[in-house]
């Protein structure tokens, strides 16, 4: 159940105590970000915290801080609670759910070690009632996170969507993105000579190269699947076929009649859209552009040949 505002503020203030190191000057904005509130709210929290302490509440018994301008100054040791407080059950649940979404299930060594040291929670109990169910290789995710953090180039073996071919590429990873549980890494690809987005589950192997690159100013990470600038295709779905609106970001209905529905869909490459259309097993047809229509025909013919060979 949601906590009462007083309890929530007290909880936040106790978390703030753990972030205040003697002698530190900490920007208020950093603390506000750390506890997820506005600078105004964190300032109010800190000012109230400076009045808290232990009996007999002499100046030396109070939380030693003062707010000046845009920073908080910590001029002494905390009267108590200097050590890190363990996680509450909701905090342990939140952390386990987040790590699960990065492919780290309850039996992952990091998860079990983390929760054992910092909470009373059993990650298996959490997983039985909350499942973020990411199909992610945690090792790959870790390599990419470290690479982005350190600005270190990564050598990847990448299987392009819809093909069996691998390409070895060196990328300078810039951001990690998660769309509907699937991880992507955005980075400058030296092979392509441009910024590209790679699906993490199509990276067969990722290896840190030891080669650091200078972080380029990038726009704040947005979505892994921007559709605005992509070309569009017109696709007809037969009547009765459930439109893949959620699987095809940016899909819009153009017209509907008794025979079916015509939609416009953005596509990044013909390999991707060909496989998508083919997966409707003849109940979808590309109307335009001709190049995509031909690509679908070629793709399906190759798949028929492959199935016959198998």
């Amino acid at each position: 159940m949601p906590k009462a505002p007083a309890a929530e503020q007290a909880r936040r203030m106790l978390v703030l105590i753990g972030l205040l190191r003697p002698g530190a000057q900490i920007p208020l904005a950093d603390l506000a970000e750390a506890v997820g509130v506005s600078v105004e709210q964190v300032t109010a929290d800190l000012e109230l915290l400076s009045l808290c302490g232990v009996a007999p509440y002499y100046p030396n018994d109070l939380v030693p801080l003062y707010v000046e301008g845009e920073t908080v100054n910590v001029f002494g040791s905390m009267p108590a609670l200097e050590r890190r407080v363990r996680l509450s059950p909701p905090e342990a649940r939140a952390l386990a759910a987040a790590l699960q979404a990065a492919g780290r299930r309850a039996d992952d060594p990091l998860v079990s070690r983390l929760l054992r040291a910092a909470s009373d929670a059993d990650p298996h109990d959490i997983e039985r009632v909350i499942r973020t169910a990411a199909a992610t290789d945690p090792g790959r995710h870790a390599t990419l996170a470290v690479a982005v953090d350190r600005c270190e180039a990564v050598r990847i073996n990448y299987q392009t969507g819809g093909t069996e071919e691998f390409t070895e590429r060196i990328i300078e990873p810039l951001a990690l993105l998660n769309e509907r549980g699937t991880w992507y890494v955005e980075g400058y690809c030296r092979l392509a000579g441009a910024v590209r987005t790679f699906r993490a589950d199509r990276i067969q192997a990722a290896e840190l190269t030891g080669e650091l690159f200078e972080r380029q100013p990038v726009t704040p990470p947005g979505t892994a699947l921007p559709t605005e600038a992509l070309p569009r295709a017109l696709v007809r779905f037969d009547a009765g076929v459930e439109l893949p609106e959620r699987e095809w970001p940016g899909l819009s209905v153009v017209s509907t009649d008794a025979g079916g529905t015509v939609v416009e869909v953005p596509y990044a490459g013909t390999a991707w859209i060909s496989r998508r259309v083919a997966s409707f097993l003849g109940a979808a047809e590309v109307l335009e552009p001709p190049g995509v229509r031909e690509a679908v025909a070629r793709f399906a013919a190759a798949e028929v040949a492959r199935v016959q060979r198998a």
């Binding site: 159940m1 906590k3 505002p5 503020q9 007290a10 936040r12 106790l14 978390v15 750390a34 109230l48 915290l49 302490g53 232990v54 007999p56 108590a80 609670l81 407080v85 363990r86 509450s88 059950p89 905090e91 342990a92 939140a94 952390l95 759910a97 790590l99 979404a101 990091l110 070690r113 983390l114 040291a117 910092a118 997983e127 009632v129 499942r131 169910a133 290789d137 995710h141 982005v148 953090d149 600005c151 069996e164 990690l176 998660n178 769309e179 509907r180 549980g181 589950d201 199509r202 979505t223 959620r246 083919a278 409707f280 097993l281 003849g282 109940a283 590309v286 229509r293 399906a300 199935v307």
Partner: protein, 321 residues
């Protein structure tokens, strides 16, 4: 409100600073925030509430047989947590990305967890997440409510619009929640129908937990319940009879099999790739899934599903000729 906040923080600091157990009377007189002149019964009620609140924040307050109180330091403070630099980066990067996603329902708890174990969300990993794509704020808030009710074993009421567009009220004992393909789902026993059902949170109206006797559970979660049993692949849903399917992953794509199968069924290594034995309910959806996730994925059984792939692909060729 300021008085209550101050009192809770002072109580936590006082107990943490006390070397020996302390009596309720000492707490009452030494902690700023307990009103002077308050009668005994009112003080006890307030103190009990405060202890519960602090316990809910990770402050383990223990009562002794003598009727005094002390902090259980072993259960209050983190001990033996030694993360490598790489592990710290992973935890920070993961927590930071989901704390900023409105469809992740525990963002605030996640930030607090990160602040406690890792000193805050400072990370150089630019990242963004959109776990749920439909009304992310609404889904995130609803799942937060449902998860809290589920943890406390309190029933929830909500209006639910089914796939046919019909809306009806439901009272549900929420056993667990899962995220799948950009949507959150609640699994629980519908008390009106007396059966366990799966509800898409995006189709729910605002869920309302039962507020009667908030500290008393309304139900007991069935022993051995695992919400993971309800997470399926598209071909595992539907009204059809359940059947066993056998799918082969060629060596070139076998490395992706664990991720693609999402833990369903059983993968066996064979000379020529991996063979996956999995239960299914819908042959057409199985055939579609195989084509969508190929190349290198093929159906060995049932023959009807394998035929659907062949005839379907032939249909694609003729339609685009």
């Amino acid at each position: 409100m300021t008085e209550a906040v101050e009192r809770l923080v002072n109580l936590a600091l006082f107990l943490a600073a006390s070397r020996a157990p302390v009596s309720a009377e000492r707490i009452r007189t030494e902690i700023i925030g307990y009103p002077e002149g308050q009668d005994e019964a009112a003080f006890i009620r307030m103190f009990e509430r405060d202890k519960d609140e602090l316990r809910g924040m990770g402050i383990a307050i223990e009562s002794t047989p003598e009727g005094t109180y002390r902090l259980d330091t072993e259960r209050t403070f983190v001990a033996g947590l030694d993360l490598s630099a790489e592990e710290e980066t992973v935890v920070r990067a993961t927590a930071t990305v989901f704390a900023g996603d409105p469809s992740f329902p525990f963002g605030n708890d996640l930030l607090f967890a990160l602040a406690k174990i890792s000193g805050g969300p400072e990370t150089d990993v630019p990242a963004a997440a959109h776990l749920a794509d439909e009304h992310p704020e609404t889904q995130g808030a609803a799942v937060g409510t449902l998860a809290s009710a589920s943890m406390a074993c309190k029933t929830v009421s909500f209006d639910y619009t089914n796939a046919e567009g019909r809306s009806a009220p439901h009272v549900v004992e929420g056993y667990g929640l899962f995220l799948h393909a950009g949507r959150w789902y609640l699994v629980g026993r519908d008390t009106g129908r007396d059966e366990v059902r799966v509800y898409a949170v995006a189709r729910m109206g605002q869920p309302t937990p039962n507020s009667v006797r908030p500290r008393t559970p309304d139900f007991e979660r069935p022993a051995g319940f695992d919400v993971g049993a309800y997470v399926g692949l598209p071909f595992q849903y539907g009204p059809g009879e359940e059947f066993d399917a056998v799918v082969r992953f060629a060596p070139s794509v076998a490395w992706r099999a664990v991720v693609l199968t999402g833990g369903s069924g059983e993968l066996r290594a064979e000379e020529d790739g991996l063979v996956w034995h999995v239960s299914a309910r819908d042959e057409t959806r199985l055939a579609r899934w195989v084509v969508a996730n190929g190349p290198g994925v093929s159906i060995e059984s049932p023959p009807g599903a394998a035929d659907l792939v062949r005839s379907g692909l032939a249909g694609v060729v003729s339609r685009h000729a």
